[in-house]
Symmetry: C2
Subunit: 203 residues, 2 copies
Amino acid sequence: MYLRALTGLADDGTTTCSSEELAAAAGVNSAKLRKDLSHLGSYGTRGVGYDVEYLRYQIAREIGVTQDWPVVIVGIGNLGHALANYSGFRSRGFRVVALLDADPRRHTEVVAGLEVRSFDDLESIVAEHDVSIGVIATPAVAAQDVADRMVASGVTSILNFAPTVLSVPDGVDVRKVDLSIELQILAYHEQRKAVAPGSEVVS
Amino acid sequence: MYLRALTGLADDGTTTCSSEELAAAAGVNSAKLRKDLSHLGSYGTRGVGYDVEYLRYQIAREIGVTQDWPVVIVGIGNLGHALANYSGFRSRGFRVVALLDADPRRHTEVVAGLEVRSFDDLESIVAEHDVSIGVIATPAVAAQDVADRMVASGVTSILNFAPTVLSVPDGVDVRKVDLSIELQILAYHEQRKAVAPGSEVVS
DNA sequence: GACGTTTTGTTCTCCCGTTCACAAACTCCT
DNA sequence: AGGAGTTTGTGAACGGGAGAACAAAACGTC
């Protein structure tokens, strides 16, 4: 988030910023921002603030955005399409090296300049491109199988869009994004607003 | 999450479950699950467990899933397409009543059985369908404008997929989903794994 | 009907993230 | 050069969520 906020400031021509400004741009408290940044080192100057470009590079280096991360996407339905075409990935150092789908009818398609390939090609693709990050955009029933195959072929980080709890061995990271749960949380707060107006905020 | 886990259990024919089982299905600790459920009331029976169907209805009622929530989606690019076609919304009580886009070239399109309409129709659509939840899937630069128009027309909950911090008045809830930040978090952990193998897990 | 077993509901404790508040450090102005 | 004004970095206080542990309650068995 800080990285993105800094990029925004840089695009506006700002060369220096205080913790207050950056915190406002990122939507957090300034004390938290300073403490977070202090974990990376002392990249600010007291009385002045932070150099936007310098801090930006330091954060990018720390979180690994300076590297090029090959990524495979499995499940080229609606969501897989959107992810394959999402420009935000490439601009942040992620390179989609393959799109896989179990359905042979999709294998003729070309999405975002990439041919959709068979799921059986997973192992060879992971090995060839040294892929460590996989994205699962399949239906829920297929997700665990896909995860197992990914782990077996060497993937150690998984971004899961399927509404299922994946079980993976230690050392493998999983992050889950559940679109309809986000809406449900909003609906819950809406309902509370209707009952007791003007009392709650999203936590 | 509990609701989804319960639905899964119900589909498997389970009629009763313990907190341990449900916690495992939802991927959480059983003590946490019991504490969470106790906030809704005492819907379990000691020595037996929870009745799956009964608990499912109680949770659904509490979080407002029994209602029908009209939703508008603004920004029908790749992600907007995917969201409009996402079946998980409808099955959870969300009904997409309109797709809006500022680009007139998209207004001829029909997506998911709905005609893409002009963003200028926002106010009338919100008023007509009593919409309180809006989804923003536009580029970052347009997101704040869209949010302002939504709020002005009566929307009080926003799900934001644009990589921007939205500022909205009190009483309006915003939830943000940032796809590339999720990947960045995974990449960060990957980098740490490469430096110090076998030490960290996603938090 | 009493007792052992199982499982919930709740209390207590611990731990971590967030925020406040302030000293240290830097700049600018006189 | 010195002091006033800013702003960072960090120690201390606060709050809340998460897990362990236990009492209360329901069921089955004898």
